[in-house]
C-alpha cells in the first residue's frame, strides 16, 4: 500500500510540476517541434532540429545521478522501498509495444507527457487524442496478465 501522507503527495506534486515546466521550457509540448526532430530526411538539407536530443540527454544525466544516490539508500524518503521495475526479459511484447508506440508517435509528434501537458493549451482535437490514448491503454491492459504475482510469473522472473 502506498503511503497517503502529505510529504508523499507533495513530492508527487513537486515532481509533476517540474516535469510540466520542463516540457514547456524545452518546447517538447509542441508536436511540430518533436516531428522536426524525428524528420531525419531533413538532415541533408540542414533543416533538422536536434533539440529533442538536447532535452533527453541532460534529463538522463540528472536521473542517472539520482539512481546512484538511491543505490546507497535502503529506501526512498517517503516510502518503504524503491519500486524498481521487475521484468528483465526482452520479449515480443516489449518490442511490439514499442514499435506501435513509435508508429503513433511518428504520426503525431505527441508522446504521453506532452499529450497530457497540452491540456493546459487546448489544441484542437486534443480530447479525441487523449480519449483514444486512454482507450488504447485500457485495451493494452486486457492482454497483459493482471495482478502483480501473475505478471511476474508471466515475465519468467
Amino acid at each position: 500500500m502506498a503511503p497517503r501522507r502529505l510529504p508523499y503527495l507533495a513530492t508527487a506534486a513537486l515532481s509533476g510540476g517540474l516535469f510540466g515546466a520542463g516540457l514547456y521550457v524545452s518546447q517538447m509540448v509542441d508536436p511540430l517541434k518533436v516531428l522536426r526532430f524525428l524528420d531525419f530526411t531533413a538532415i541533408p538539407a540542414g533543416g533538422w532540429d536536434p533539440s529533442l536530443a538536447f532535452v533527453i540527454v541532460p534529463a538522463i544525466v540528472v536521473m542517472f545521478v539520482a539512481v546512484r544516490i538511491g543505490r546507497r539508500r535502503e529506501a526512498p524518503l517517503f516510502d518503504t522501498r524503491f519500486h524498481e521495475p521487475e521484468y528483465d526479459r526482452i520479449d515480443g511484447r516489449l518490442i511490439g509495444g514499442a514499435a506501435l508506440f513509435g508508429l503513433g508517435w511518428g504520426m503525431s509528434g505527441v508522446c504521453p507527457g506532452p499529450a497530457i501537458s497540452l491540456i493546459a493549451f487546448q489544441p484542437e482535437g486534443l480530447w479525441i487524442f487523449l480519449a483514444a490514448m486512454f482507450a488504447g491503454s485500457l485495451a493494452g491492459s486486457l492482454i497483459m496478465p493482471s495482478g502483480h504475482g501473475r505478471r511476474l510469473a508471466d515475465a519468467g522472473a
Binding site: A2, G20, Y24, P31, F54, M63, G96, L100, G104, L118
Partner: protein, 150 residues
C-alpha cells in the same frame, strides 16, 4: 536551423531529469508518464498520487507559459496538433484517434514511453529500456520519413 533551441532544450531537459529524481528519491517511483496515466483505473491502489502528479504537470506547464510566453507554443504561439499528410485522404480526427490508440496500446504493452524507458530506464542502465528506446525512435523516424508529415 532557426528552430534549433539548445539552451532552453537543455534547461527543460534538466527540469525533467530533476522531476524524475525527486519522484525516485522521494517516493521510489519511476516518473513514466504512460505508467502514471495508464494505472489511473482499478486495480491500481495508488490513484491519488498519480492524479496529483498529472494535475501538477498540466498546471506547471500553464504557469510556465504565463511566466515565459516568448518561448513559443503555449505562450506566444498557439498549440496545434499535427495534421495528416496533405495528400492523404484521412480526416484529422481519425488520424489523431489512430495515433492516440497506438500510443496508449503500445506504451501499455511495451511498459513505457519516452519518459519511463527513455529517461528513467536509460538512467538505470536497463537493457530492456535501451531496446524499447531504439525500437520506438527508429519506428517514429521511419514513420515521419514515409508519411512526410513534417
Amino acid at each position: 536551423m532557426d528552430s534549433f533551441t539548445p539552451l532552453t532544450a537543455a534547461l527543460g531537459g534538466s527540469l525533467i531529469g530533476l522531476a524524475s529524481a525527486v519522484l525516485w528519491l522521494g517516493n521510489g517511483r519511476i516518473a513514466g508518464i504512460s505508467g502514471i496515466f495508464g494505472q489511473l483505473l482499478p486495480p491500481a491502489q495508488t490513484v491519488a498520487w498519480r492524479l496529483i502528479f498529472l494535475a501538477a504537470m498540466v498546471g506547471a506547464a500553464w504557469l510556465a507559459a504565463q511566466l515565459f510566453p516568448q518561448l513559443g507554443v503555449g505562450g506566444v504561439k498557439i498549440a496545434e496538433l499535427a495534421a495528416p499528410p496533405p495528400d492523404w485522404p484521412v480526416p484529422m480526427p481519425i488520424w489523431l484517434a489512430v495515433a492516440g490508440l497506438l500510443i496508449g496500446f503500445g506504451t501499455k504493452v511495451g511498459n513505457g514511453c519516452t519518459s519511463g524507458h527513455g529517461v528513467c530506464g536509460l538512467a538505470r542502465l536497463s537493457l530492456r529500456s535501451l531496446v524499447a528506446v531504439l525500437v520506438f525512435f527508429s519506428v517514429a523516424i521511419l514513420t515521419v520519413a514515409v508519411t512526410g508529415i513534417v
